[in-house]
Every structure is written in C-alpha cells, then in structure tokens.
C-alpha cells in the first residue's frame, strides 16, 4: 500500500534496512571470500584478507580430494528426499482425516504433535541411539530417513492440515456423489487442489532435512554421513583451517541455497496460501 513518506525518511529507512540486511548476510559472504583464499591469507586480519592478491580454487580441490564430496552429497539428497516423501505418505491421509472428518480431540492431537517439536532432541538421543544400535540402523541412510521423517512429521501434518482446511468440503462431497472412492477423491480432487500447499511443504521439508545436523551427526559415522557431517569433519580434527572449512561449507550449502533461490516464489506462495482470499 502506498502512502506518503518524506524523502529523507525514505533514504534513512533504506539505509538502515540495507545495513541490517548486509550484516545478516555478511557471514555467508565472508565464508565465500575465504573459500577462494589460501590458508595463509585466510588467517590474516580481515582487511588484509580482502585485499590480499591471491584468489585460488585450491581449497575446493583439496576438500574434494580428501573427502568424497559426491558421496556425502548423494547421502544428503537421499535422506532429505526420502524423509520428505515418506513423511508425505503418512501425512496426507493423516491431514485429510483431521481436516475433513475431525473428531472430538483432533485439535488436541494436533497440539500434541506440535508439542513434540518443543522437546529438545537430545532428551531422546540415548534411547534412539540404543534402539538404532539394536536394530542395526546406526550409520545407515534408512535409519536417517526414518528419524528425520519422524522429526519433521508434525510440521508436514500441520502444514498440510492448514492447506486442506482451505479446500471446501462440498467439493469433496461432490466427488463422493460423482462416484469417486476415497482413494480417487484424494488422488483426483484433493491432491491437485492442494498442489501449491503440498509443494511448499515438500520444499520446506527438504530444506529442514538437508540442514538437520543433530541426528545426522550423532547417528552416522562414515557410510551414511550427509553434508552436515562432511562440514563438521573439517572443524575439529583438521584444526582451524579456515579456507578449507569455508570451501566445505560453501559446497555443502550451495545446492540447497540454489534450490531455495529458484523455488522462492513457490515457497512464499505456499506459506501464505489462503491468507488472503
């Protein structure tokens, strides 16, 4: 909405907002700069880093040489896509039931699901670790897919529930009158209508699973380690090798950053779906 604002105020506001934005973005920019420096340059004082002459891709090459980036990348892809789609398989029927045939305690169930997100994960680390050990799931992708799906399930269900609630019940009733079975009703009517909502749920969950570090670090060692574990491996054992650590970080966050960038519109549209009619 347009409204009259004095020019001076506009300039001031823009400057303040720009500065805050830059400060927030700065760490990522700094990592990006450091990743193209040599280790010697990277540990200099900030201004010297910026104006030192050498720009190099050595760190990226070393990181790829020392640890198999592609393997970690594939683990991340498998785990984030796997947990998201497995989550959808469970969440779509659950959200359907809660949105269209609510029972007396549906609201309580929803709150309870959300409340599990308030529990610090470390509180259940030991039991889950032991269960994983006994079931032979430690350091497996299947195990991670499962645990991340469980962690994100409340969010997936909540999001889908909100989108489904926006779909008029009469349309589903019309499908029922038209002879659609429950499966056909969900497949041909509900899901296509909820596509924007489902898409943003999928995107958000891929991002959350991709960035999840607590469980991936605690439940993997080498075989199933995703990119989070890959970055972490550059922090302590290698000491403070800023350039390599930065290069590893950039390699780990780049895919999700690029995906997020391209899907921004969809993500925002999905998250504000139904907010304005």
């Amino acid at each position: 909405m347009a409204r009259a604002v004095p020019h001076k105020t506009k300039v001031f506001n823009t400057a303040v907002a720009g500065t805050i934005g830059f400060l927030m973005f700065f760490p990522i920019l700094w990592i990006l700069i450091l990743s193209f420096k040599t280790e010697e340059d990277a540990i200099r004082a900030p201004f010297q880093v910026l104006f030192s002459s050498g720009w190099t891709m050595d760190s990226f090459a070393t990181v790829q040489e020392r640890s198999d980036y592609f393997k970690h990348f594939m683990n991340s892809v498998t785990i984030s896509l796997g947990s998201t789609f497995l989550g959808l398989l469970i969440a779509i029927p659950a959200a359907w039931a809660m949105a269209f045939v609510p029972a007396k305690h549906t609201k309580d169930v929803l709150m309870w699901m959300l409340s599990t997100k308030m529990l610090p994960p470390v509180g259940v680390l030991v039991p889950i670790y032991l269960i994983f050990r006994d079931l032979g799931l430690l350091d497996t992708r299947v195990g991670l897919v499962f645990v991340l799906m469980m962690m994100n399930l409340p969010i997936i269900i909540w999001m889908l529930y909100t989108y489904f609630r926006e779909i008029p019940g009469e349309i589903l009733e019309a499908a029922r009158m038209d002879g659609a079975s429950l499966r056909e009703e969900v497949l041909y009517v509900l899901t296509p209508m909820a596509v924007p909502g489902i898409a943003s749920t999928v995107l958000l969950n891929i991002i959350l699973s991709w960035n999840e570090a607590f469980w991936t670090l605690n439940l993997t060692a080498a075989k199933a380690a995703p990119l989070t574990a890959f970055i972490a491996s550059y922090s302590s054992p290698e000491g403070l090798f800023y350039a390599k650590l930065s290069a590893a970080s950039i390699m780990a966050i780049a895919p999700i950053l690029i995906m997020g960038w391209f899907s921004q519109k969809q993500l925002v549209r999905g998250l504000t779906f139904g907010a304005v009619k």
């Binding site: 008029p168 009469e170 349309i171 009733e173 019309a174 499908a175 029922r176 009158m177 038209d178 002879g179 659609a180 079975s181 056909e184 041909y188 009517v189 296509p192 209508m193 596509v195």
Partner: protein, 333 residues
C-alpha cells in the same frame, strides 16, 4: 426410476435431535421442494437422502431397495450444491465427464455424453474453460451438467440458486423446471425461498425444526394451510393474522386473510384504518394499513395504480370465502 421412501428417519448431531422421526414418500418423476426457514433441517434431510450424512435411526429406501447404509456413490443420485462445488483444476469438459470417468466409461462414450449435455445446457463454447473463467449462471449449468450425464435415479438440489442475482435466478428457475419436464426424473429441491417452491414444485414439503408441517401441491398449501406456520410461510406477501374480538366473531382464536383477498375502499367496509407505507410494484400495489384495535398493521393488495397515500383513511373488507380460521394451538379449524 426414482422412488424414495423415508421410514421413521431420525438424525441427531451429538445430543441434539435435528430431525425427529419422519416419514416421507417421494414418487418417481416428482418435483419435490423442501422449504422452510434456515435451520429447519431441510438441507440435512437432503444430505441424509444423498448419503452424505449418516441416518441415526430409521431407513431410506430408493426404488424399494434398502439404501440406509449404501455409500453416496452407490445410491444412483446426483447432487447440485449451493456453491456449485466444481473442480477448479479441471476444465468444464473434465468436470462434466468426472462422474463418467469414475464409472469407468471409455473416452469416446464420455465425450459423446459430455457433448450432449453441453448442447442441452448451452455450454458447448465453454467446454475447454476452467470454472474460474465462467459466470455464476454458467457454473451452475456446469454443475447441472455434471449431474445429468450420470442419468441418476433422482436429482438433489441444495439451494442451487441462492448465489445468483435476482434476474438470473428467475431464468435458471425456468431452466430447471424445463429440464424436469424433459427428463421426467425425480427432483428434490431444497430452498428457503417460498416463491421458488411455489413456482417449481409438484409437491411441497414444509419443514420446521426438523418436523414436516405439511405436504401437498403448491395450491393445496396455499388454499388449505394446515396450521399458522404453513399459512404464514406460503404466499407472498404473507398472510395477515388477526386475533381477539374480530377472530371471535368467526368462532376462531386467530383468523388469517391473504393480502389479495382483502378489499380496500375509501367509502366504507368492515375495518377502518390508516394507510402507512405503500409498495408500488407497477402491476400491484401493497398497502400496510393500521386498523383500529388490531395489534399489527395488515398488508393488502390493490390494483396497479391506486391513488392512496400515507395517512389516508381507508376501509378494509376481508373476503369471507377466503378467510382461514385457526384454533388456540394454531391448527386449522
């Protein structure tokens, strides 16, 4: 065939009984209108017949076969919703074809039926559009198209015209009536608008608080309303009711007289009164007249161009042949 029988059908939502045990017989090919004020249970009754709500007690038979627990898709009924309930992501063609697709018809048969329905409903030019690109009346026709391609045993209409503007409503009313004449299929139509009920129905079912107050043809209900509620609900403008001394003269607790059965005169008559607001419709004029000793003003109908004004003194004379008498309980005498 489309004969529907309700036997002691009862519906409760939790503790609340919205439809007390109710019997109703709908004959094949009949146009039945459920009419009543909002919240009277008319839509719930329709949804019970459709199978969209579970019956708490009693049984529903369709063409003689027990249908109480049959899912909606298997009842052979088609429904047109108030909100049209079109599938927004499908074209008009796909919307109309949806029930056929669900029934497993092959593509060619689907297309043939869709095109036939589109022709009947003047939708041929819009088949490739999405519902969002159509006007209200066109959407309504798509919803009807989706219902007729199934060749159902009966059509159920849930206040289908209430989202349309007045002019379009009159047009659609005629279209639906004509469709009924052409298809000769049972139609059950829910509305709160007694004009729709009077103009379309073969049989009107007047409902109040889930109870059937009266069942009959529009003229039967107009001529012989069983009680005060039906008398007041059927007819427009509504019937005038007079209590007290005037009613006692006719051996009744309440007498009812319709606006069209009252004479207005400036010279003399039974009830002297003063003209209040007048509504000039062109063909008719309705006067609201306050009569001495009457609690409420009476509405009377006069010819098109009657020269009476606010504050004029008039005399009203009810037509004795059309006087309705009711007892203390509101039942017809």
């Amino acid at each position: 065939m489309g004969q529907i029988t309700l036997n002691k059908v009862r519906k409760c939502f939790g503790e609340v009984e919205v439809i007390p045990p109710l019997d109703l017989e709908i004959n094949d090919g009949e146009f039945v209108v459920f009419v009543g004020p909002s919240g009277c249970g008319k839509s719930t009754l329709l949804r019970l017949i459709a199978g969209l709500e579970d019956v708490s007690d009693g049984e529903i038979r369709i063409d003689g076969a027990e249908a109480t627990d049959v899912p909606p898709a298997k009842r052979g009924l088609a429904m047109v919703f108030q909100s049209y309930a079109l599938y927004p992501h499908m074209s008009v063609r796909k919307n109309i074809a949806f029930p056929l697709r669900m029934a497993g018809l092959d593509k060619a048969a689907q297309d043939k039926k869709v095109e036939e329905a589109a022709r009947v409903l003047n939708l041929t030019d819009y088949l490739e559009r999405k519902p969002g690109q159509l006007s209200g009346g066109q959407r309504q026709r798509v919803a009807i198209g989706r219902a007729i391609v199934r060749e159902p045993a009966a059509f159920l209409f849930d206040e289908p015209l209430s989202n349309l503007d007045a002019a379009l409503r009159v047009g659609m009313r005629l279209e639906i009536s004509e469709l009924h004449k052409r298809l000769a299929t049972t139609m059950i139509y829910v509305t709160h608008d007694q004009v729709e009920a009077m103009t379309m129905a073969d049989k009107i079912v007047v409902l109040r608080a889930g109870n059937i107050e009266q069942v009959g043809s529009p003229l039967e209900l107009y001529r012989n309303p069983r009680n005060l509620f039906v008398a007041g609900f059927i007819g427009s403008p509504k019937m005038n009711f007079v209590n007290g001394q005037e009613a006692a003269k006719h051996d009744a607790h309440t007498i009812g007289i319709r606006p069209e059965h009252t004479q207005v005169s400036t010279e003399g008559g039974d009830w002297p009164g003063v003209v209040g607001v007048s509504e000039h419709l062109g063909s008719d004029t309705f006067f609201h007249v306050t009569c001495e000793g009457f609690a409420d003003p009476l509405t009377v109908r006069a010819g098109g161009e009657v020269d009476l004004h606010y504050g004029d003194k008039v005399f009203l004379t009810p037509d004795a042949a059309h006087l309705h008498r009711f007892d203390k309980e509101g039942l017809r005498l």
